[in-house]
């Protein structure tokens, strides 16, 4: 066995850093999950496609504890890429690896759940936008936020609901709530919907309320864009 000297296909290793979001597991699991569920209900799909690290803050007592946290989060669609603040003896090979040396970075999050971002090394922007697809009705009071990319809703957006996208917003249904597009990527964003009943439309910070939306577009399929600092609504 002299594999070391054998020539063969070369494998390249490179260091690369990504921005991850850290969930802090502070407090007993049941209470924490109850709060988390309330929060998740208002911002469904928030964790879709996100890189999440779970920080136990040295509070985990047993391996069963760690397993329960990972399992409960998995059933809620949160996939963990790593663990933090936990003794290596409580972690086995089936669990995400233990990370060290994380540094805090700012991350815009729209609610008061304890969230901070960890960067193992130099922060870099993700190379591609992260888009969100939601296949259900968005009800009054719910808020869909995706600052990294576009939001597509297959279903209606009720009055009193809110969609905030870094890029464009697509609604295949009635848009009766508020749609705020271009929060990150600005004037290139647009809003599309198959039936317009919106309370407020905004692209790149330029907005119009229901009062100022031409009645001719009510109930119609439209696209909304900006040009010369004004909001333009056109039939699709």
């Amino acid at each position: 066995m002299n594999a070391v000297s054998q020539t063969g296909p070369s494998i390249r290793f490179r260091g690369r850093s990504f921005m991850a979001m850290t969930l802090v597991a502070d407090g007993p699991l049941q209470g924490w999950l109850a709060d988390f569920d309330v929060w998740l209900q208002r911002s469904p799909g928030f964790f879709t496609g996100r890189i999440v690290v779970l920080d136990f803050a040295d509070a985990a007592q047993s391996k069963a504890d760690v397993e329960r946290w990972i399992g409960e989060l998995a059933t809620r669609g949160v996939r963990l890429v790593g663990l933090e603040g936990v003794r290596p003896s409580l972690v086995d090979a089936t669990m995400p690896p233990v990370l060290r040396g994380g540094r805090d970075a700012t991350l815009v999050v729209t609610d008061n759940v304890t969230v901070s971002a960890t960067t193992p090394a130099e922060p870099r922007k993700p190379a591609e936008p992260v888009n969100m697809l939601v296949e259900r009705r968005i009800r009054s009071g719910q808020s869909i936020v995706c600052l990294e990319g576009d939001v597509t809703i297959i279903g209606s957006v009720g009055a009193g609901a809110e969609i905030i996208a870094g890029g464009s917003i697509h609604v295949y249904g009635t848009l009766a709530g508020r749609a705020i597009a271009g929060a990150t990527f600005g004037a290139n964003a647009q809003i599309f919907c198959t039936k317009l009943e919106a309370e407020l439309l905004a692209v790149d910070g330029i907005y119009r309320t229901a009062e100022d939306i031409d009645d001719a577009f009510r109930g119609k399929a439209v696209r909304v864009s900006t040009a010369d600092e004004t909001l333009r609504i056109a039939a699709l």
Binding site: R42, N112, A161, E199, L200, Y207, T209, A210, E211
Partner: protein
């Protein structure tokens, strides 16, 4: 400096939001500058009752979190020049309201208005206690039925314990507003009598608003009931209540069952 009123009840569905809009509009119609503030974050309705839901851009939570300045969030009423609305946020919950934030907003409002009317959410939790925190006058909205009266009694206790006035050792001026009073059912004895409610709660009576289709009609049209049809029975009751708040001495009118001759005859015969 404004007089700060909180409209509260404990129980839901008794008419807090209807009352806030109606009293606010009635006071504004006398020429006073009035702002109505929706404290029901997450279940906002005052904008609908005021017919302003199509003009909401910023809300109470935006102001507290510094995303908007107070004048940007205030919505001016289309019918009355001196009536304004500060809407609640629908997408947040009551934890988004902080004590310091509420203190600052109410302080700013009271410098520019004659009346600040806070529409409390139902319940006795954070939202309700924040809404009553600054109250000088509390309008306790009660229906003439046992569950509503019990909840009002509970709220009166909280008004005496958790307001800034209570903390200073003073008392909030509490007034009872009896709503959804049905003269027909009252005559049949199906409802608590006004005297019974007054005895249980022992609060001065601000007014009695009759149950009326006019209230629902005005709500659906997005017009405060006191200005939708000023001659309707509920509108007159709210106007009298507003004048009583201004210190005028108006005789209390108990809504009566209107009977035709035939009805009177039948009742006597029964």
């Amino acid at each position: 400096m404004a007089k700060i009123i909180t409209v509260t009840s404990g129980k839901g569905g008794v008419g807090k939001t209807t009352t806030t809009a109606a009293i606010g509009a009635a006071l504004a119609r006398t020429g006073d500058k009035v702002v109505v503030v929706d404290f029901d974050v997450g279940l906002r309705n005052l904008d609908l009752i005021m017919g302003a839901e199509r003009r909401v851009v910023y809300d109470f939570v935006n102001v507290i979190q510094g995303d908007a300045r107070l004048p940007q969030a205030l919505i001016k009423d289309k019918r009355l020049d001196s009536l304004f609305l500060l809407p609640a946020s629908q997408t947040r919950d009551k934890d988004a309201l902080t004590e310091e934030g509420v203190d600052k907003v109410i302080g700013d409002l009271s410098r520019h208005f004659d009346w600040v009317i806070c529409d409390s959410p139902a319940g006795i939790e954070r939202g309700a206690t924040l809404a009553m925190r600054h109250a000088e006058i509390a309008i306790v909205v009660t229906n003439p039925e046992v569950s509503s009266v019990r909840d009002s009694d509970r709220i009166v206790g909280i008004l005496d314990a958790k307001t800034l006035k209570a903390e200073r050792g003073e008392t909030v001026d509490k007034r009872l507003l009896l709503t959804r009073y049905d003269p027909v059912r009252a005559a049949r004895g199906d409802m608590l009598k006004t005297e019974d409610v007054l005895e249980i709660l022992s609060l001065p009576l601000l007014g009695i608003v009759p149950e009326s289709p006019d209230v629902l009609k005005a709500s659906n049209m997005g017009v405060p009931v006191s200005i939708n049809d000023p001659n309707s029975a509920p509108a007159r009751a709210y106007h009298d209540a507003a004048l009583r708040l201004k210190g005028e001495d108006i005789a209390m009118e108990t809504p009566r069952q209107r009977l035709g001759l035939f009805g009177k005859f039948l009742r006597r015969a029964a």
